[in-house]
Structure formats: C-alpha cells, structure tokens
C-alpha cells in the first residue's frame, strides 16, 4: 500500500499575523509544517514501523516555492519522496481537494492522511472533500489507527464522544492531537533527505481554479475591559467579581 500524506506550511502558533492590503501577509513570518499534518507524516511512518504493509510514503505539498522547506522536514522525518505542486495561487480546500485527489489517483495511493484542522484556514474540509472526489470513505478526528489486510480500524472523536470504527481501504483519514507524538528529524536523516526525490509539478496540469475568494481580512480584537480586582482578600475579591458578573456584565442570574 502506498500512503499519501499532505503537508502544509502555516505561521508558527506564536507568530504575529499581519495584514496588508486587506489580506494576511506572511512576509517575514516564521512558517512551520502544520502540526496537524505532522501527525499525518508521523502516523504514516509508524504504520510502516508497526509492520503494516506500507510500500511507500509520499508527501505532497501544493503552494509557493517556500513550502519546499516543509517537504524537506517530512523527508527528514522519514517519508520516501515528495511531490511539490508549485503555485502562488491561493486555493481553498474544495479546489485543493481536486489536486490531492488527482495525485492520489495517479500514485495509486491506498490511504491519504490530512491534518484535521489546519492552522491557517481554520478549516476541516480538505480531507472530506478529497474523500468525496475519490469516492472513498473518510475518518475524521482520528486519534487511534491500525491498518490490517485491506482495512482500517481505530478510534475517532464524534459530536458527543468517540467511536471505534472499521472501514475498508482505500480511505482518507484526518488527524488530530493524541494520534501520536511527531519525531524530530535527526541530523543524519536531514542529510539523507537531501538526496531523496522532490518532484516538481505545475498547477496547470490539474486544471484547478479557486472557488472562494478572500475579499477582506482584518485583525479584530474585541476591546476588553481589563478590570483588575485585588486578590489579596479572597472573600472581597469573590464578592466583587460576582457583583460585576451579575450587575455589570449581566451574565449570571
């Protein structure tokens, strides 16, 4: 079985996001491989290490030249080769799923791993949209995964708790915290990664257009009252806080 694992590059969680010309401007921002996608890369490696029949693990990124860095990280973690569809076009998840599905098809992938909710779009759509395009089942918010003879078993979160599941392969799995702890690339592996294949493709090949346009972006911070209550006398502080919540904020009866 071949595993295709998607890799995206997002601002570091602690980095300041800035806006210019009504759009998010990532110039000068520290960018990292999305933590959710990192779980996917790690899980592919662990499935192979645990003895599942994994022939090859391929990392895929769609985006500008800089996303090469994220692919190099995935290669250094241990994936076998990488595909970079290089474009400056900003594709929404529904449009991007068209590229991912086509490549999954060409590669003959039996399992596609995608981050559960990415830290730039705050979107959960890519995995499900890719699964629909491929006509495959999907498992989202997965925190436990096992691959056996042509099938997947595991556990994932649902609205009111969690479920154990079984599904036939091929399938799309979206990852989340708790699935694993991603490894750090070691220096020897970083050196080895430089010799691994990183194939370049152009977006034209896939005939994809964005379906959603960003018309504006702003950093909106709600003005907070920042009213500090002296905590030295716990009883007085508690009474004052309750009074504010009841009579000023009117959020408690």
């Amino acid at each position: 079985m071949k595993i295709l694992t998607l890799v995206r590059q997002v601002p570091d969680a602690e980095a300041r996001v800035k806006i210019s010309a009504q759009q998010v401007d990532l110039e000068g921002t520290t960018l990292v491989i999305d933590g959710m996608d990192e779980y996917g890369v790690e899980e592919a490696l662990r499935l192979r290490e645990s003895g599942a029949p994994v022939e090859e693990i391929v990392a895929l990124a769609v985006g500008p030249k800089r996303v090469e860095d994220a692919l190099r990280t995935a290669l250094a973690m241990g994936v076998d080769r990488a595909i970079h569809v290089e474009t400056d076009e900003k594709l929404d998840p529904i449009a991007l799923s068209r590229v991912v599905a086509q490549i999954a098809g060409q590669e003959g992938a039996g399992l596609v791993l995608v981050g559960g909710q990415e830290a730039d779009w705050d979107s959960q759509a890519l995995g499900a949209a890719t699964a629909e395009r491929l006509g495959w089942p999907q498992l989202t918010w997965t925190n436990e995964l096992k691959v056996e003879e042509g099938s997947l078993t595991g556990r994932h979160d649902v609205d009111d708790g969690n479920e154990s599941f079984r599904a036939a392969l091929p399938a799309v799995v979206t990852t989340q915290q708790g699935l694993n702890e991603p490894r750090y690339p070691t220096l020897p592996n970083i050196m080895k990664a430089k010799k691994k294949e990183l194939r370049k493709e152009t977006l034209d090949t896939y005939g994809v257009q964005p379906t959603v346009r960003v018309v504006n972006a702003e950093i909106q911070t709600r003005a907070r009252l920042n009213r500090m209550i002296d905590g030295k006398d716990p009883q007085a502080a508690a009474a004052e806080l309750l009074d504010l919540l009841r009579n000023e904020a009117k959020v408690l009866a």
Partner: protein, 316 residues
Amino acid sequence: MILIVAEHAGGKLAKSTLEMVTAARESGREGPVTVLVLGQGVAEVASAAAAVADQVLVADLPQLAQYSAEVWAAAAAQIAQEGEAHTVLIGGSRSGREYAPRVAVKLDAPYLEDAIRLSVSGSALQAQRYTYLARVTETVEAQAPVTVVTVKPGAFAPAAASGEAGEQYDVELELPTPRVEVTGRSVEKSSRVALTEADVIVSGGRGVGSPENFAAYVEGLADRIGAGVGATRAVVDAGWRPYAEQVGQTGKTVQPKAYVALGVSGAVQHLSGMGKSKFIVAINKDAEAPIFKVADYGIVGDVNQIVPALIEAARK
C-alpha cells in the same frame, strides 16, 4: 430556496438549527427557509423546526437512525438538487463540518465554512469567518448557482417561533450504504450543559494544581453557577481531564456569554478556542500570564483561595 439541514440530538431540535434559521433570514438570500430533518423517530424535531421555518422536509427512515458522513451528504445533496436550493446551510458541529464538504463536492458548489455572518454582495454570497487560529476575521465570497455554508454555533441568535407553523412534507431518498462500520461508541455523558451550548463555561489550566483541585474548584464552581466545564490542552495532555473538555485549536471552539478561566496561562492555541467569548474572567497567580490581556475581569491570586470564596459567595 434556502435549505437548512437540521441538527438534533436525543429527540430534540438543537439550538444550532434555530441559529441557522436566523442566519438564513439575515443572509439576504431569497426564497423559503426550508429545514430538512434526517433521522428516525423525528416527529417532535420536525414540529419544533416547523415552528420557525417556512417549510420542513422530513426523512424519517431506519437508515438514518445513526449519523454517517456519506449518508448525510447524499441526502442533503439530493434534496438540494431536487429543491433547486441556491444556499445550503449545515451546522458547524464536528459532524456538520465533516459531511458538508462532501455535499459541496457533490453539488460542484463552493463551500463557506464556519460562517459567523452572511450577506449578499451583488450575486455573490459573502461570509465572515475566523482564520489563523481565530486571530484574523476574513470575509470570503463565492459566486455560484449553489453555495454550501456551515454556520458556526453561537454566532447567530436562535430564531423564535413565529405565529404560523410551516408545512411539513415527507421526502423520499436514495441512500448509499455507509462504508464506515461503527464497532463501539463511548458517549461522554455529563449532567452538565454541553460546552458548545453553554452560556457560561468554567475552565481550568495547569495552574489549578492537580486533578483533585480541578474537581473541587473547576467542577465545583461550574456546578454552583450551572456552567459547562472546559480544560486547556496541557490539562488534557497530562491526563487530568478527557479530551472532550478541551477548548482550543485542537479541541472545541466556544463562544459563551462568560468564560471563567482558572489557572489558565492563555496560550494562543487556547485563546483561539475561547477568545470570542463575550466576557472573559481570569484568575491566575501569575500577574504576567497572557490571559489577563484578553480578560474583562481579572484576579491575580491563588485559585485555591479565590475559588472556594467564589463558590461560597455564589451560594448566597
């Protein structure tokens, strides 16, 4: 028409469905507001929906007893096509955001995800949504014959029943067989109100000190004031609390009227899940904790001393 796929649980229409009715009416899109109820034994849900919608389509079928992404997507897409819906609204719950993208692909429609506001600009539908761990509010737009939207829970006021109940119609569906077999379910039962529905949430971080303190202070205060219980990622990672209580980027996003953060430092991942709360209260002994920057009311002090006093005072 505007098609809303109802969210319901335990035989009750969820608040999120009423919120979607408001979103539909405020969107500026024209046509009757139609609610589609999928499930088994949903008569009560359907009449509750009829009280707020122009019409209700009911698919009361054994194959719909259990939610499945593939089945729900097929049902919603079929009805959207037959009813020539130009807008399809789906709840922004975990399951809603799981099957909505499949509906969009089936309808070859653009998808506006987790909208907090909807409006019409020319012939395009515009949505506001949070991005970059909720640090940015983006306005996105799509221009197409049909657009699929998920609506963020808590972003719109729930619609109130109007004078006349909408007509109810039974619908036929051709449904696929789900390919994901559920082999076990663990429902996180709680006598408390669900996090995404709670008006008030009391949440604890590592600063609370221990799992025992968490139970005494966070749960103690929540029970006293009738609030939901939340936790930070650090607390969940440490195994003090179940993942279902986690608020933040990798957990739940909440928007209550009041969010009371006990011993929470205020990491970006956590703020992205609760930063839009109407009022934020922070109690932490570290005066430098970032949570105070976003707090409306802050107490620099020991949770172990302040919270018992708070529980006591709330009793009065």
